[in-house]
Amino acid sequence: MTKFIWLTARWGCTDMEGLIHQIMSGIATGGIYASVALALVMIYQATHHVNFAQGEMATFSTYIALTLINYGLPYWIAFVITVAVSFVIGLTIERVLMRPMMNAPVLASVGVFVGLLLIFNSISGWIFDYTIKTFPSPFPSNQPLLGGYASGHEVGSTAVTLIVLLLVWLFFRFTPLGLAMRAAAYNPASARLVGVRVGWMLALGWGLAAAIGAVAGMMVAPVVFLDPNMMAGILLYAFAGALLGGITNPLGAVLGGFAVGVIENIGGAYLVGTELKLTMALIIIVCVLVVKPSGLLGRTVVSRV
């Protein structure tokens, strides 16, 4: 009862502007979750593996970007180099570590992912130490945009995220290589019969996922600051987003990511307070599993018994 009174009191004194502001920044962080969720789903679709190391890989990429910027490179050149390096790292991991694990039991692949998580986390800490660092934003942060509802970085990072998502969609929809990758994920046996090199398509998928993760890391680092554990919470939200939207559907994962960002911000501001933000991701995951395990747009998997 007291809880209810407290809630109504909070709602009462919150004006509409505050709500709009929360939704705007929810969309900005949601874009980050959407990117990581898309990276997860790309790997999941092709291999039915959930990459628990996706977050730590993105953190490591962000450190690469910071190092390049500290060397004096302009932001956007550092950005492009980081994305390219991350792509190569992802591709190499698939070739060297995941490929031999292709037919191994699921526990073995989870073990490798957890091992990768630990390795990337400690390499980040080892090379760049554990102190919290600031990360520059390429967008002007002093003047608020959109009628004062969003900061320059929020608008800019949302724009970058949307451009990345659009490029990924165009790539998969309109290029022969994108088509081949979809074919390899959807039906590896038939794809191989028509001459698609399925193994390389999986490696490309890993590279793309790592590159998308790197962009997400660089966009979120100015907000949450950079330390080796930066992405742990973000990965959790990406899981929640992917499950909410449907882990078998890339578009669903993206929408789920945005939705989770908005839910997180509104919930954090009006319902549970910021101290329980991560718990909210857990609650979203459990709710999706109870109510609609296939997610909003996912395919219901029916297995023959």
Binding site: V50, L107, G115, I119, S122, L282
Partner: protein, 333 residues
């Protein structure tokens, strides 16, 4: 005719001799563990206590991940719940330390059931995802204001070290070790008994052939959820013992890395092996101390590299690897 009976009898005899060898090994191990009480110094005894604690925690994880094939990346959360149950009962309600163990066991079994219920209806990686989320969120929950009066918030709780009862001539380190050893031995015995019987067979059937297991009349979701509850219970008892041994609980000591450490211990020791859980516990108790000398980041890197190496080189863990060598030697002898 006689040759058939010999060939049938021979493996049975070998198995029997293997079983008696195993019993002998367990006896020697227990005796050595008991003697250690009086021959080892306080700090080393504490390390051995923690080996038993981690062994139990990994045993809990082995029950669900190794024997039932359901991957959990969040058993640190149940370790934390067990530890906090004991700490709250001891620090806030003045319960004696031993009486908190059954409560911690029950609480963890309950939480395990509740978490397992939605995640285990579905196959695949959903349990790993949910438990991972639980482990990441755990410190936040423990810090939360609403339960601060119980948990002590960010500060955590300090509890007293138990003294030896009945005027036994033991110092508190020795008594703590013996108490942990006794509880540990009992839980290992119960787990062994559970896993070798009908229920253990059911767990393995679900892991290896879920469709066939269902056809044999096993209710998959319910069986997996109950297994998960038992597994959470065992890990919760470990957490409870760990809290008594360390005499302190705080939210930040139960980060997601506890869960990952337990997972590493499980994989290194051998996922579906009771003895392997102790090997894994020895690994996670001593290797970080050694690696820490090199650098702060080294334990994580060592864990990661070893985890991947084990997956590639000896997928059955240390227990399977050395067990295989032992079997080969026995056959030759």
């Amino acid at each position: 005719m006689s040759s058939t009976s010999v060939s049938v009898a021979a493996p049975a005899a070998a198995e029997r001799s293997g079983t008696s060898l195993k019993a002998l090994g367990v006896g020697v191990l227990l005796l050595a563990a008991f003697v250690a009480t009086f021959t080892m110094s306080g700090y080393h005894l504490f390390q051995l206590t923690m080996v038993i604690v981690y062994g139990l925690a990994i045993l809990g994880l082995a029950v669900v991940t190794g024997f039932n094939g359901q991957i959990s990346l969040g058993h640190g959360a149940f370790y934390a719940i067990g530890a906090y149950t004991t700490a709250i009962l001891m620090a806030q309600y003045n319960w004696p330390y031993w009486s908190t163990l059954p409560v911690a066991a029950l609480v963890c079994a309950g939480f395990g059931f509740l978490i397992g219920l939605p995640a285990l209806r579905l196959g695949g990686l959903y349990l790993a995802l949910t438990t991972f989320a639980l482990a990441v969120a755990m410190p936040q929950v423990l810090k939360h204001k609403a339960i601060e009066d119980w948990t002590g918030g960010v500060q955590g709780l300090v509890i007293d070290k138990p003294d030896a009862p009945f005027g036994l001539p033991l110092n508190s380190d020795q008594w703590l070790y013996l108490f942990t050893l006794a509880v540990g031995a009992l839980v290992y015995l119960l787990a062994w008994n559970l896993l070798r019987g009908r229920i253990g067979r059911g767990m393995r059937a679900i892991r290896d052939q879920p469709t066939a297991a269902e056809a044999m009349g096993i209710n998959l979701a319910m069986f997996k959820t109950r297994t998960f509850a038992v597994s959470a219970m065992i890990t919760g008892i470990a957490g409870s013992l760990g809290a008594i041994a360390i005499q302190f609980v705080a939210p930040d000591s139960f980060s997601v890395f506890v869960s990952i450490t337990l997972f590493v211990g499980l994989v290194v020791g051998g996922v579906a092996s009771i003895g392997g859980s102790l090997l894994g516990a020895v690994f996670i108790e001593f290797v970080p101390n050694l690696a820490d000398i090199v650098s702060k980041a080294a334990p994580g890197a060592v864990y990661g590299v070893i985890l991947i190496a084990v997956m590639f080189l000896m997928p059955t863990g240390a227990a399977g690897f050395f067990g295989g060598i032992a079997r080969r030697l026995l056959r030759r002898a």
